[in-house]
Symmetry: C2
Subunit: 359 residues, 2 copies
């Protein structure tokens, strides 16, 4: 058996245990199809999609690949819409609106739905090989309906406690999301601080705590990283940032530019862009909201007031308010097509194992 | 060649590439000697030692082992002794002193010297195989004198930038200290936030950036961890928390108890106990100083006021003010003698490589 064949690849019906992270704000039909065609598992984050675009996008993917695909939804708690919090945050952001000559400071509203019955109906209709959830799981009834169709269910854990909860809730595999990972922390039951665990510590502890296949995520950028996760007991890896640099990803040029210069920059976890902690490259909004977490409204409502600002600033060439999501291994990215990246990762990992075998 | 033989083990004249972290507040002559006798590199942190105890302790070690030994010193900046900061911190801590019926709130004073000429003279006299420094390096003149005796020099980096600085300053090997590590962050040139990088990201980036052997530290607890660091390019590992649980370590029973229950507790990085960020198990002082970093005086002066309090509280059975240093893999510890631990680590790693070879 090759190093890349195991019960996970068999269950997912993929050649290589490499999952492209769904990355709702950057994934594209082209990226997902390219990864799946290359032997990995392509993913598409659908929570930011308008409901009427979900089915057409899925059809586009399956017109480009007949391999397994993972569809991803967010399962966050409904925002509380705290009036005082909203007012304080609007007051704070209003100075940025003035600076950019933006007249109307919008009301703070919901910008993306937590996985709901409409999305469930579409999911059951699309019937993909795999569905993954971020921020926990949908309710038991929804899980039951998904399992009836034998759709493989994945979700992320940032603590051992969360991994056990996922196992007991019927998932088929668990992503151990290390502190290194870019984008939103998957933390859903532990505190965010408790969930700040490096992959080196988190992965083996989750592997020991559950009997399901564990997928490693966070800071994995090349064959060395893949081989290391296998040593620690992972059955597969999920890479986000590495795929962000592929031309197929839908990434704003200013974001791309920040990624390409990430070696000279810092990433940090912040709630400033969406209301939930996520890792991105440090820019102006991230810095200026540091220490002001107590005035940030709930996910995802923050986006309703930050996104218009980010877009206006970006049009003027300023990255200051864009969420520049990136993991801590962003400087190791390559800007090559997804197919080439998957092949590169496999080749690198294979050569490591070959070298060990020759010793 | 066996997996554990490489240029680092050769240079250090040790059998296995396993370094016991110096851990000034917990290391002992017995622990260091036991690790070196077992084939690893035993270390003794000397910065908290009274100057007159350094030589006698070194003599005790070499009476117990004729293998390589690593002596460790801290090279922190001299504390600024900011009167306002000291007053605010004393005011804050005074309530704890009252609570424990302690009459005299001591003045804030220096508690341990940064590596100085007296310590240098002793080091040159002892002439150990290895010296390691934490918080950067001593000045160029000191380094020159140490190198004249061919003492192998190690220091820790928490960013790629720091690793390059160390390489250019004449060290012989670099420790990549991941975010997972227990005890004091070695950060010396980057900001502490910049230095919060998981080992999965930090290690390969440092390996790529320097041509010296890199030693991995942070979250490594068993053979899986060792094998994983080797995949990422490390030539050796430094384990602290794993050795903390050995009976040879000098650990307060309340600390030991916290370590043994670390699976149900959280570790976090705090400056509350010493004035420099260090990872420990969350207890009362850590929690109550959260968000009050701006009133904490410089390292190491904080200890002059916190340690008497910690000792009094500990006598009453309270762990509330003890620094319960621990890494994120503390729950994976075993409470076995150091010799058994080294053997276990080697056996586990060997069996992983044997398994790969049989595939």
């Amino acid at each position: 058996m090759e190093w890349y064949e195991n019960d996970l690849t068999k269950a997912l019906n993929i050649k290589y245990p490499i999952i492209q992270a769904p990355m709702a704000s950057a994934a594209s039909v082209e990226l997902a199809a390219a990864v799946s065609n290359a032997g990995g598992l392509g993913s598409l984050g659908l929570s930011y999609h308008k409901i009427e675009n979900i089915l057409p996008d899925y059809k586009k993917i399956i017109s480009k690949t007949n391999h397994s695909i993972n569809l991803n939804f967010m399962t966050h708690k409904e925002p509380s819409n705290n009036d005082i919090l909203n007012k304080n945050f609007r007051d704070h952001v209003s100075k940025y609106y003035e600076e950019y000559g933006l007249d109307t400071l919008p009301n703070i509203t919901n910008t993306c739905e937590s996985f709901n019955s409409e999305q469930l109906d579409l999911l059951l209709q699309m019937n993909p090989k795999v569905v993954s959830f971020h921020f926990g799981l949908p309710n038991k009834e929804f899980i039951k309906k998904i399992k009836e169709l034998n759709i493989f269910i994945i979700s992320s854990a940032t603590t051992v406690k969360e991994a056990k909860i996922l196992e007991n809730s019927g998932v088929d595999a668990i992503i151990a999301q290390g502190f290194e990972a870019g984008g939103h922390r998957g933390t859903f039951e532990s505190s965010y601080k408790e969930g700040e665990i490096g992959l080196f510590s988190l992965l083996p502890q989750i592997v020991d705590a559950v009997s399901l296949p564990v997928i490693a995520a966070g800071g994995i950028a090349d064959g060395r990283g893949i081989a290391a996760t296998l040593m620690l007991g992972a059955k597969g890896v999920q890479l986000g940032t590495a795929f962000l640099s592929c031309p197929e990803a839908s990434v704003h040029p200013l974001w791309k530019n920040a990624l390409n210069n990430s070696g000279d920059r810092e990433t940090r976890i912040t709630s400033a862009f969406t209301g939930r902690p996520a890792r991105g490259i440090v820019n102006r909004l991230l810095k200026e909201m540091d220490g002001k977490e107590n005035i940030i409204p709930d996910f995802p409502t923050v986006g309703s007031i930050i996104k218009p600002l980010a877009n206006t600033a970006a049009k003027k060439g300023d990255e200051d308010f864009l969420s520049l999501w990136a993991g801590q291994s962003a400087p190791m990215s390559h800007n090559i097509p997804a197919k080439d990246l998957v092949e590169k990762l496999i080749k690198e990992t294979s050569s490591i194992f070959k070298r060990i075998n020759n010793n």
